[in-house]
Symmetry: C3
Subunit: 266 residues, 3 copies
Amino acid sequence: MEVERIGPLLAAVREKTPLVHNITNFVVMNNTANALLALGASPAMVHALDEVEDFVALSQALVVNIGTLYSEQIAACKLAASRAQAAGVPWILDPVGVGATPYRRAAASALARLRPNVIRGNGSEILTLAQQTQARQGRGVDSLQGSDAAVEAARTLAKKTGAVIAVTGAVDYVTDGKQLAEIHNGHPLMVRVTGLGCSATAIIGAFLAVESNAFAATVAGLTVFGVAGELAAEWAAGPGSLQVALLDALYALDEATLVARAKIRA
Amino acid sequence: MEVERIGPLLAAVREKTPLVHNITNFVVMNNTANALLALGASPAMVHALDEVEDFVALSQALVVNIGTLYSEQIAACKLAASRAQAAGVPWILDPVGVGATPYRRAAASALARLRPNVIRGNGSEILTLAQQTQARQGRGVDSLQGSDAAVEAARTLAKKTGAVIAVTGAVDYVTDGKQLAEIHNGHPLMVRVTGLGCSATAIIGAFLAVESNAFAATVAGLTVFGVAGELAAEWAAGPGSLQVALLDALYALDEATLVARAKIRA
Amino acid sequence: MEVERIGPLLAAVREKTPLVHNITNFVVMNNTANALLALGASPAMVHALDEVEDFVALSQALVVNIGTLYSEQIAACKLAASRAQAAGVPWILDPVGVGATPYRRAAASALARLRPNVIRGNGSEILTLAQQTQARQGRGVDSLQGSDAAVEAARTLAKKTGAVIAVTGAVDYVTDGKQLAEIHNGHPLMVRVTGLGCSATAIIGAFLAVESNAFAATVAGLTVFGVAGELAAEWAAGPGSLQVALLDALYALDEATLVARAKIRA
């Protein structure tokens, strides 16, 4: 994945303004929608059982995030994911806090079997999903594991699910089971803002809408998000202003800055 | 509607701090509450079936927004709207994304029959509600139609429902079926922040609480919101800082600035 | 409660990053999570009936807030509170808008009987919970009563429930029925940002996770939050920028500033 491919993908998102259907958690709905709008996509947050199938069929990508899951939402996620799969709409799964409870593990595992194009999580989440260990991973929704500790689990999970796996953290890793890319962008302050992992997932969703190669779309999404985060951190005085500046940076990001800042390693 | 009438209405909102009951979507709850607080009203977000009727009876206005609708919420909206109608509490309907799915169309149409004092939507939403065309309007929650394309639909819808209709976009149009006002305020960057249409609806709600003429209240609300948006855009570096600056601008807006900036045409 | 004790408690939150389980309202989920992250805690928003008991057992504190209550959430709050009580996890109740409807009064009263370690509310909310008067207190979710009007009610409620009671307002009062502390920090602009009372509750929750004396934890939480609010108000141009600056201030707050600014009276 060459950095030169990412600029044109960003331009494609901005030109096509893909409709990205999100079934996501209540904590991040606003920020996720704003991140997608700042990037140039057209977000919609739609989760009613009675309309998710109709809506996903209109969309160019689907984002499924279990952060504040509840039984009706799990049913809606399954319906939407199945319909996306049938209709050829690419979709991405964010298994937030999957290690915390049996309920969450069951929901995430069931969704992972519905053939997501991409799964993005932190180290603990990917380790749990890959069942590399019997021990409970993670603590609440934050990771106890660095992303580097989950690279092998990510390869295993990629082979098991057929999905591209992204493990995000100090370094972001992307693998389809064979290829592995590392993205060395982003900033440590980003973990002090809630839901930036969820925003990263949604941004990947927007790139899936314009790039059928899920590996390339995922690397592009994480690179754009990481570079925007770095730019925002240079401006920010703390996590409050970081969140604001991140939206401004996603909006203002140009291809030259992206290419100059991107740190992708194969 | 003369601009000179708006300043006193803004002062009335700030003096009376009307309780505005919102049944709204999960994406914008925080921003809507903050917009109402910044303006000077007292917002409450209350949607439980078991208390919406009690709550609306305490309120000076009701805002109903179907952005992230689900079956129990639709029932709550209907209960609250009926009670508002019976108790003489003015209410406003925001038919978010009504064109996207049959479920959404059915819910919005049912609510529109419960005699809202005002309906506010973008061009696509008003065209769909007015059933000017069989074709699906809009795409997700964003408009595919300029507000100008929906002016005739707005007149039709006003006559059909008895409500004042506001179509917002590059230009905002307000009609009661006879009178038509145009508001040429606002800024293009506002569409890159999620839910500012929902905030506009809530702001109109606050003006309905202090002005029984729904046409005047709607023009006042949209003018205040558009002027605040313009002021915020002058300060903002992008959509993140625009959202922050908009709340500051609503809070700081004085009558002299409002009169100097307002661009209302009959 | 000496101000010198608060700095070490703040350091303990930052060092231990306690997992704070929140069952809270949809308006403030994002801001509450961000306030806890900015402070140095690890927030999780988890409300599904199927997992709240499992989750609370992993947590170091539980925050229960009825702002946008609905029947399933009330059941989840009761389950979680009972489990917290049984497992020795400290928990705090925020009876948002308890005076507004019979539904809300019943829910808050039932939760208050489940032995919360702390209850925090505004003047109207504490007066209602203490049943000092038959008259409906409050209007919507905002207080009609100054915090000073509820001090006696707070003492009564403390004796009745066994909880430490915090009444917040222009002055914050904390009592366990015997001791009374006053905190003269904070800023009037804070009431123009939605849910800062809810954030204060969550911050107290984080201190409960590191300090078993609930009175000391509550005074510490409110002092830290009030000082951060003051610092933010000095920087802010209005309620939008105040919200941003408050998160930055919580993140940057050091012990020296805290001690210099704190205004606690026994």
